[in-house]
Subunit: 180 residues, 2 copies
């Protein structure tokens, strides 16, 4: 959910040298291609259009097409929104879903502090954006997550938990034969 | 989600002397009234029928009608399934939502070990039951939880976390004037 801290998780993965693919980047590129500013409402519209024009897995399929599978035993995909998208990646290999949770109150306060253009100015705007996110069945992906990281406390604690989980996944990942 | 351990949370609340209302009890009563065995598939059908006949908040409204609000500063409602149901309770007072999470793998193994009649015998049956649960928008309630308790480790750890949270909520709850 917005403001939960999932991009922090990705930043830890990047620091560890893991490839990170951001679902939203595909949407941002498509918005640029269509001559639209990357505001949250435009990005949301483009994400909807893509899914309408090319099917519910459109964004995931574009990311999947770019994944360099041999490059690393663990690859991070940031921002999966629906079970249909999860299934796209399951066709490529073993998928571990990680959800990052923070309470609505905490996420709202973070987004207010962050104050990026397009971040919600009021609780009502925030709730509306949450509902848009959930309309893609994001809630089901969260409910079925293999790992749930709670990000309510100090940021250092969350970074440590993220690093710990990624190290564990790396240790457990099968080593594919070169070129395999 | 089934097997996450939410009824353990309720049992901690009961031990602490807090009133606990179980949404499923209303459904079980209604099944009995209709002469049906309380199998998961029958209970699911009755829950669906109730929501179809009396609206999506039917079960919550029946529970809300029984809540004795003055009885305790904190009252636990076990088994809310949708945001519409959460809204019913918000009309009665301040609502704190608590989600209990365990990974699908952990929940499946627990349900297998528990082996109650109606518990899933295969991974496919388990996934199907998960999907039925999620069809009520349970995922959105989980995604928007005020507190997320992860129940992957030893049961004692979870019971301690549950007790800690309930004690905190009790400490924070406003004391209503007698009869208020």
């Amino acid at each position: 959910m917005p403001g939960s801290g999932k991009s922090l998780f990705s930043s830890v993965a990047r620091e560890m040298g893991l490839p990170v693919y951001v679902m939203g980047d595909v949407v941002r590129e498509e918005a640029r291609r269509r001559g639209l500013e990357p505001t949250p409402s435009n990005l949301n519209m483009v994400a909807r259009l893509l899914r309408k024009e090319e099917g519910p897995a459109a964004v995931a399929l574009r990311v999947a097409g770019r994944l360099e599978r041999g490059s690393s035993p663990v690859v991070v995909v940031d921002g999966v929104r629906s079970l249909v998208e999860v299934e796209v990646f399951q066709r490529l290999g073993r998928v571990i879903t990680v959800a990052v949770h923070a309470s609505p109150r905490t996420r709202f306060e973070r987004l207010r502090r962050r104050g990026r253009p397009g971040d919600p100015g009021s609780w009502e705007e925030f709730r509306e954006r949450d509902m848009t996110e959930l309309s893609f069945s994001l809630g089901s992906v969260i409910a079925l997550a293999d790992y749930m990281l709670v990000n309510e406390g100090p940021v250092e604690e969350f970074l440590k938990a993220a690093r710990g989980l990624l190290e564990r996944l790396l240790a457990e990942a099968p080593r594919e034969p070169p070129g395999g």
